[in-house]
Amino acid sequence: MWIRGYKLPAMSSLLVWGLLWEVVGQLGMTFFIPPLSDVFVTLFEIIGTPAFLKALSETAQAFCAGVFFSVAIGIPVGILMGRSRLLDELLLPWVNIFVSAPLTALVPVLMVLFGFGMKSIIITTTLFGIWIIILNTRAGVRQINRSLVEMATSFGASPMDAFLKVYFWAALPEILGGVRIGVIRAVKGVIIGQLLISIVGFGALFELYASNFLMSHFWAVLIVLFTLAFSISEFLGYLEKKVAYYAASR
């Protein structure tokens, strides 16, 4: 946005909302909203504590493992579905069901199947992230220029070469778009997993602070989480822009 010829930096509107939050907090309208300045003070108090660091590392581990499986399984499955009519017919209904299903309802079933530990949390995270990655990759592969496929075939590409050297790169703009949305959903997955399956990581902190009415602690952790998720999403968005130059010319 421009004001009197001066360009405001991105997200300057956050300042306005932050100010509003501070005012509401200072007025003491509800215990639920402490002043933003208190939240930041609490944030800097807890950010170095062992409890916080432990929660951060537990959450990060589950999240990274979940995202890893979403990407490592999702992209190849998406490419195969985009290239093979048979696999597409077999898998697409399931992918469509799961991408829109309320996955939280499945978590109790996962607990029964895989126990109350890290394994279930990672599977939950994966289940939140993977479907949109599959769908986007599939869409990316399906719109690859037919002559690019014929070119690879005519120069004798093995299926593996075609997969690694042509299809993956040609679908990369869509794949990155899918990974970006998948990662955001995986953040949801890991927190829901930590709240429902076993009370560890950030989930445990939320549980602890909310049940003890430590609202500035609660908000502080939430701000950390939002910032992390937003940064990852922005980084992937940046990668997406880097390959966008060929998205239009495939």
Partner: protein
């Protein structure tokens, strides 16, 4: 390109008995209920350029893709240098209408890509690619990306890629239809000297009558419904008179008129 060189070489290949590089024998191909090709037979002399010319829907691109091994015929066979075609193979290289370049790879990698897929070592394939990039007139653009090049330059990359795998048969699918008129004329002249100097067999699909008559040693006129070879024309005299004189040669003009007369009924 040196045109007098071209002429003397063309004089050399004007022999009565032709050696056949590619034969199409009784090839049929259906798409569902649509007959794309019906019992088509055609021969392509070695070292020469044969055009497949016809109105849209006559199956010329289908035939080219069957020769390239990209499509399987329903019946009949293709024989290239005595060997039946079962799929794509190193004895044929394709040039695509829309260039089919990798947009994420630079010119050098694109030109070397055919060799890369054939497992040639990196330094060797890049040396070879660099030579053909120079041959097609793109020296200095090795590190450029396709989106930074004009349409004509992109097709030169596609051509260099097909040349660098050193196949004996080159299949060109309307290669100049996506470039502008002036670039196309330059391409046509360059193609004449390529045919003269490279000792390869060229099979060239086009919908432009003038282009076909200008570049071809032999023109196969294909007609639709049912698809068939209606006529084979071999221009005789104007090849020897130099590229700049072809377009006003009486025989050139007559052949163009004659082809238009036989095709005009099939154009909606």
């Amino acid at each position: 390109m040196d045109m007098s060189q071209t002429n003397s070489d063309f004089a050399g290949v004007q022999q009565p008995e032709q050696d056949i590089a590619v034969s199409v024998r009784g090839v049929s191909k259906n798409y569902g209920a649509v007959e794309a090709l019906k019992d088509m037979s055609l021969e392509f002399p070695r070292g020469q350029l044969t055009s497949l010319l016809g109105p849209s829907g006559c199956g010329k691109t289908t035939l080219l893709k069957i020769i390239g091994g990209l499509l399987k015929p329903d019946s009949g066979e293709i024989v290239v240098n005595g060997k039946p075609v079962v799929g794509p193979g190193p004895n044929r290289a394709f040039v695509f209408q829309d260039f089919a370049l990798l947009p994420w790879a630079n010119v050098l990698r694109n030109v070397a890509f055919g060799l890369e897929l054939r497992g040639v070592a990196k330094s060797e394939r890049e040396d070879k690619a660099a030579k053909y990039i120079k041959d097609v007139g793109l020296a200095g653009f090795e590190q450029a990306y396709p989106h930074e090049l004009s349409g004509g330059m992109r097709q030169r990359v596609g051509l260099a890629r097909a040349l660098s795998v050193d196949s004996k048969v080159l299949l060109l699918d309307e290669p100049f239809s996506a470039v502008d008129e002036q670039t196309r004329r330059k391409f046509q002249e360059d193609l004449l000297s390529l045919v003269a100097n490279e000792n390869k067999t060229f099979i060239f699909v086009t919908h432009s009558i003038e282009e076909a008559v200008y570049v071809s040693d032999q023109i196969a006129i294909l007609l639709p419904r049912p698809s068939r070879v209606s006529e084979i024309i071999r221009p005789s005299s104007f090849r020897l008179k130099g590229a700049e004189n072809i377009r006003r040669d009486p025989e050139y003009l007559d052949i163009v008129d004659e082809i238009w007369a036989s095709l005009r009924n099939y154009v909606e």
